[in-house]
Symmetry: C2
Subunit: 394 residues, 2 copies
Amino acid sequence: MSNKDLVLEIPYGTRDFLPREAAEKRAIEGKIAETFKRWGYDEVATPTIEFLDTLTMGNGSNLESKMFKLFDKENRTMALRYEMTTPIARVVASRLVDDLLPYKLSYISSVFRYEKTQTGRQCEFHQAGVELIGSSKATADAEVIALAVSIMQEAGLKDFQICLGQVEFINGLMQQCCILPKQQEQIKQAIESRDLVALNAIVDNTELPEAAKAMVKQLPLLHGDRKVLYKAYNMAMNEQSRRALDNLTEIYELLEAYGVAQYITFDLGVIRDFSYYSGMVFEAYTPGLGYPLCGGGRYDHMLTDFGRALPATGFAVGIERILLSLERQGLAKPAIAKNVYVAYVPGKQQEAIKLVQDLRNQGKTCELAMSACLELEADAYRQEKGYKELVFIK
Amino acid sequence: MSNKDLVLEIPYGTRDFLPREAAEKRAIEGKIAETFKRWGYDEVATPTIEFLDTLTMGNGSNLESKMFKLFDKENRTMALRYEMTTPIARVVASRLVDDLLPYKLSYISSVFRYEKTQTGRQCEFHQAGVELIGSSKATADAEVIALAVSIMQEAGLKDFQICLGQVEFINGLMQQCCILPKQQEQIKQAIESRDLVALNAIVDNTELPEAAKAMVKQLPLLHGDRKVLYKAYNMAMNEQSRRALDNLTEIYELLEAYGVAQYITFDLGVIRDFSYYSGMVFEAYTPGLGYPLCGGGRYDHMLTDFGRALPATGFAVGIERILLSLERQGLAKPAIAKNVYVAYVPGKQQEAIKLVQDLRNQGKTCELAMSACLELEADAYRQEKGYKELVFIK
């Protein structure tokens, strides 16, 4: 490869948004920002770079190897933000201390993860999301789920499903079965990755009584409509698991009031890949995309790590995944209307400038030819660039 | 400092945008995107991280020390983008080769410079700009200047001035005076930093004839209305300088047709701090801000370095500088209207949810209380959060 080719390359897992893609991205982000505002969520923006200690405080140091790291002039380790929940926790703990609770905050932001790229997710990708901080009520959880539904609807998606779980149900069940912490981790990983073979092998390898083994093996199968909750109530012998199910029941009834219960599927095997979740968790799926579009949940302990003990819940949706889903489902909107291309013969340039300015003042999208040309040439250009009308000044 | 305080810190030269600031930023960026679209400029977005070789190909390796560097898994050096002209040159040379010329491209993007922070400019800041690629005409230069004026007007600024120069005028003059390359650099630096004392010292140190010395010393004084051009024509003995002045004259006449000539001040001492400029250059200033808001110019050689010889012109405007100017000039818009805060007594939660959804469907900005409360409490919260109306369901 010549040096010329090298300078034209971009790093692994990054991409350019060419005009059509960038226009779609801006349009979707605009609609999302509008929806967040209508629901009373205030946007915040944080730096692209944070200290590594800040990011690992929220995410745990096991994610450190997936972070893009760099160093400041004093050799302190920094990293590109991995997600937005942690930076917002930092903002809440350091900058918003005098404001009345709860905080309803939103963001639309790039995030960076050094990992194998997935469908609709590069190493640099874009997320929109909210954090509802300072309320431990089911109302808060129901609000963020209903808002996630609204975001997907506003983005233009018609067909999607929300899988709703509760991490405390599984935690309670494992406690009830006296499973050792190390085995708990293995079991959770197998459930999270939907690896039933691995799950069975791990469970069979434990000293658990047969009844407990059967119960743990059933966890990934607790998936479906409201009846799943009744089944789960029969399994839940301890307070922790039962409270988790009561919480899901309350959230579901509120979602009925929001008129979005038809999007909800219970899935008690949803755990999510962030260690900070402590209650309700959910993921949204749409046909033709093998990964969740959107995910979130309650995280009541992260803010404590930042020195401000506040309960919190929220979600993030992947912008690229929405764009990809719309495209795959044939729902992508055509590019923005381009109205007029203004071209001219020699000597008519100033007249053309005055006309094009008038048209723009009327709100029209117009392009001006950079030099005099033939009408035929002008029309070919107009067509190629997608302008509806040619005004040719002779 | 405790560990807790450390994780609440952010790196030097970065900042958080709290709700009011983030809302202003989004509003300004929305208006700018709208204006770019109306002028026929298509947005593109490029990765935050590029290979160092790509960035220095455009910017020159002398800027390398100001870049935030990091390494990929193969130990290739990458850096956070320093400005957007170079990444867009890369896109044009690698991705848009089949499209009809000219390209009219725009961006709104964060950029990163590891240097002492300035008024309205942190190490991470945001720029909006355009690149008009494939036209060497004065029409192209006039269009980007007129668009810069339009952007500043749309952003809400009333009082600003564009200082317009031409790097080939100075280059021609130096050639005419037979100034050595090394001295040319020193002279340009002194002119760029408006350091008349240094300029005089450098010039006095040369072997130049007295007439040439006097001419160079006058360069930073060539500042004012159209009469400055007549004065400059008298100094320009060679073709290169005269062509530069002809080019400025032509651009000015086109700007008269655009109706924006009243914003233009000629300033033949404007050079700009990027080495890639090769023709017209400009900077926009507004009262109360000691740095340019906006700057740009023609760069006809950069694309050649990327393997595609195309003339180009463009500009970038600093988003934070616009926000700061609006604030200092008392032109900042009040925060977005928040319509209704909906609260309720115990048992009325579901009714409240239905009402708040109705209001949002009518396009109103509404917040729902997270738990039942007293009307007095609800009204205090409403007031603090800036909602106009309280609806209290009893």
